[in-house]
Amino acid sequence: MTKLRFSRKQLCIPYALFLILFVVFPMLMILFYAFTGEGADGGLTFTFANFADFFTSRAKLSTLLMSITIAIISTAICLIIAYPLAYILARSNLKRKNVLLMIFIMPMWINFVLRITALRELLDLVGLLGTENYLNTIIGMVYDFLPFMLLPLYTTLEKLDKSYLEAAADLGGNKFTVFTRVTFPLSMPGVISGITMVFMPSMTNYVVSDTLSNFNITILGKLIDEYFTTYDNWHMGSMISIILLVIIFLTLLATGGFKEDKSNARGANLW
């Protein structure tokens, strides 16, 4: 019997194929569609018209602004709720703190549509549905993405070497200064990881906004969907996708998510 031997290169083939088929090829397609348009004769021509169109259309720009606003507010609320929670969980001596953490993570295991529909019923019950569209959308985003903020924060804080905190106290830091000068800066990888995990989907997850605002709020994701399905305009849809991609890239750049950080490598960047 002959032994099958694969070199490292050969073993990479399935992944390379996957990457080409599902990442590189679609990206090229999006790029292609974004910078082409139907010419007068019905053929495809290279054009910047979609780009110009997006940034001159009031409606599209206000959608962009709206998406960013909703995403920023949702992310901020997630951070405000998740940080103290993660901090308390990570610092507690509870033997069963993993169980406690699980309770906060568990909603992630329930079907997303079901969760949002349930939230919609709940909001209807308290009379918010149909009246407070923005509030509802933000509540939905926070409810949905909180675990994505909590987990990386918890991981970072949990792994934080206690001797840093002891050193800071030893050097004269009280509880507050130890937190502001050591704990918080050292938990930044988790904060950044959490922000990116919440901010990006908050800009595009239109199931939340549609369901909870009765289709009154249009966010960027919804706009893309409309161009592809309702208007059958793949060129504009692709252009908006690319603009979204650039925004996400810029946020990552701004938060330093691309920095090579040892503490990131240690698993703070769960995602």
Binding site: D161, S163, Y164, E166, A167, A168, A169, D170, L171, G172, G173, N174, T177, R181, V182, P185, L186, M188, K262, S263
Partner: protein, 513 residues
């Protein structure tokens, strides 16, 4: 107890006590990390807590730093109770085992960390000419100046802007020291600070730390498991084991006069023998009487410690002991020669070498023999299991229960031991440690009644019973027993031990098989 020992030794400085630990214990869950210790540290002293891991030395340090609060007992700083004071309120700084340098700060900010938080009283004169004091932060210039000086002390000038991750282990170590001393603490705590460095670096840092201690004049409390490090650097060494202090003393005192077998074994190399006092300043071990400088009660069982460098090699028939060289190892400066004298192995250090197989004599002078009280509550022997599943020890053979060596095991009809896992073992010649309590031994006039025979060499009346020592003829093994009957010295008796009273345990080597 520790206090007395501390007073007894000649401390290099007679300065005031800066730290006093009074009856401090620390219990984590169910583990006693530190067990009711008393200790003081003199101002300006270089004191080292030395012991194996888990001995409580780091916990003691952490209690002084304020990271751990004692479960009971007190810690005093200059006479003031600081037991419950948080670490940031103590004039004490720590150099951590893995340095704990803040990775998000550069070297300057690491060193300046404590200074930026510090507030000092500054006296002003107002327009009316009245003076008043205000607690004020240090100015930028003052901080710069102090950081620069501290980095100069540790030889890292110009490293201010470097990031922590670009430094080597030794450099990080220095930054950690600078970060601590820049705050001008009264006490500097060092928790195994050299543990992560390579040997050469460690030696250099030892010398530098010692020099730094001299220059700064502050109290150093140092924790290490490395006995050589402790001997090199300290003014005073505190040897700890199982959360208790074993001995406090100068390096010389601890090395030359170890308080017990543990200290002797832990500090330096040593030969440890079971001995018996046979006269005034005369001790018997290795089947021979030796003159010594310590005196204990006649017939008392003692631990005898002889340092390898205190044994002299002589010609075969001129020495006090005679034996065959079984191994010679070159150690750089000296040879370590193991000699089998009778049944015991004796380790000798000498600048001269011998060949394996040589028969040589060994001399031990009285001042090389250190005698320590034996915590003696049970008879302990080296023995082995015979073919008949009895145990041979103390020049005799005794019925015993061999199944206790392996919990849940049984003996089958052929005499094999079947373990709880169903494994079949032949125990013949297995080395075991045998323990027999004093009250579990009976003696009889009938020489054939027991497993071993010997003469009674000592009878001591202990109030309600006699403590009798029976010594065998062949290898002079002793059986110590408590009895209510009166016997006479020199009676020839046999020793009986009920099989269920013989406690067996496997020797370490046997376990590994």
């Amino acid at each position: 107890m520790a206090e007395n020992k501390n007073d007894a030794m000649n401390s290099p400085s007679k300065a005031e006590k800066i730290i006093e630990i009074v009856g401090a214990s620390k219990i984590f869950d169910d583990t006693v990390a530190v067990d009711n210790i008393d200790l003081y540290v003199r101002k300006g002293e270089f004191i080292t807590f030395l012991g194996p891991s888990g001995c409580g030395k780091t916990t003691t340090l952490r209690m002084i730093a304020g990271f751990d609060i004692p479960t009971s007992g007190k810690i005093l700083l200059g006479g003031k109770d600081i037991t419950n004071l948080p670490p940031n309120k103590r004039p004490i700084n720590t150099v951590f085992q893995r340095y704990a340098l803040f990775p998000h700060y550069n070297i300057y900010d690491n060193v300046a960390f404590g200074l930026k938080l510090k507030k000092i009283p500054v006296t002003y004169v107002n327009a009316k000419g009245e003076t008043y004091t205000k607690m004020q932060k240090l100015t930028r210039r003052e901080i710069d100046e102090k950081v620069k000086n501290a980095l100069a002390v540790v030889d890292l000038e110009g490293f201010e802007k470097r990031s922590v991750s670009t430094l080597s282990g030794g450099q990080q170590q220095r930054v950690a020291i600078a970060r601590a001393i820049v705050n001008e603490p009264e006490i500097l705590l060092l928790d195994e600070p050299l543990g992560a460095l390579d040997l050469k670096m460690r030696k250099e840092m030892q010398i530098e730390l010692k020099a730094m201690h001299k220059k700064l004049g502050i109290t150093f409390i140092y924790v290490t498991h490395d006995q050589e490090e402790a001997l090199t650097m300290s003014d005073t060494i505190v040897v700890m084991k199982d959360g208790q202090i074993q001995q406090i003393g100068t390096p010389t005192a601890i090395y030359n006069e170890p308080a017990n077998a543990f200290v002797a074994n832990f500090i330096g190399d040593s030969n440890l023998f079971n001995g018996t006092m046979v006269g005034k300043m005369s001790v018997r071990f290795c089947n021979r009487n030796f003159k010594c400088l310590d005196d204990f009660a006649l017939h008392e069982k003692v631990d005898v410690v002889v340092r390898p460098e205190d044994i002299r090699m002589t010609d075969a028939d001129k020495g006090m002991l005679k034996g065959e060289v079984i191994s010679v190892v070159f150690k750089g400066v000296h040879y370590e020669i193991t000699v089998k004298a009778g049944k015991t192995e004796v380790v000798v250090q000498s600048t001269e070498s011998r060949n394996v197989g040589d028969v040589i004599g060994l001399d031990i002078l009285p001042d090389g023999i250190h005698i320590m009280k034996k915590e003696f509550t049970v008879n302990r022997y080296d023995g082995y299991i015979t073919k008949r599943n009895t145990v041979a020890f103390g020049d005799g053979e005794f019925e015993c229960d061999v199944t206790q060596l392996y919990p849940g095991s049984l003996l089958d009809e052929e005499g094999y031991l079947v373990t709880a896992d169903g494994e079949k073992l032949d125990l013949t010649d297995t080395d075991v440690t045998v323990e027999v309590g004093f009250t579990d031994i009976e003696i009889s006039d009938d020489a054939d009644a027991g497993g071993a025979r010997g003469h009674i060499v000592s009878i001591i009346y202990k109030g309600d019973h006699y403590q009798v020592i029976v010594r065998t003829e062949e290898n002079e093994e002793d059986f110590v027993l408590d009895t209510e009957d009166l016997w006479n010295e020199n009676d020839f008796v046999s020793v009986k031990i009920p099989p269920e009273k013989i406690r067996l345990s496997l020797k370490q080597e046997a376990k590994q098989k």
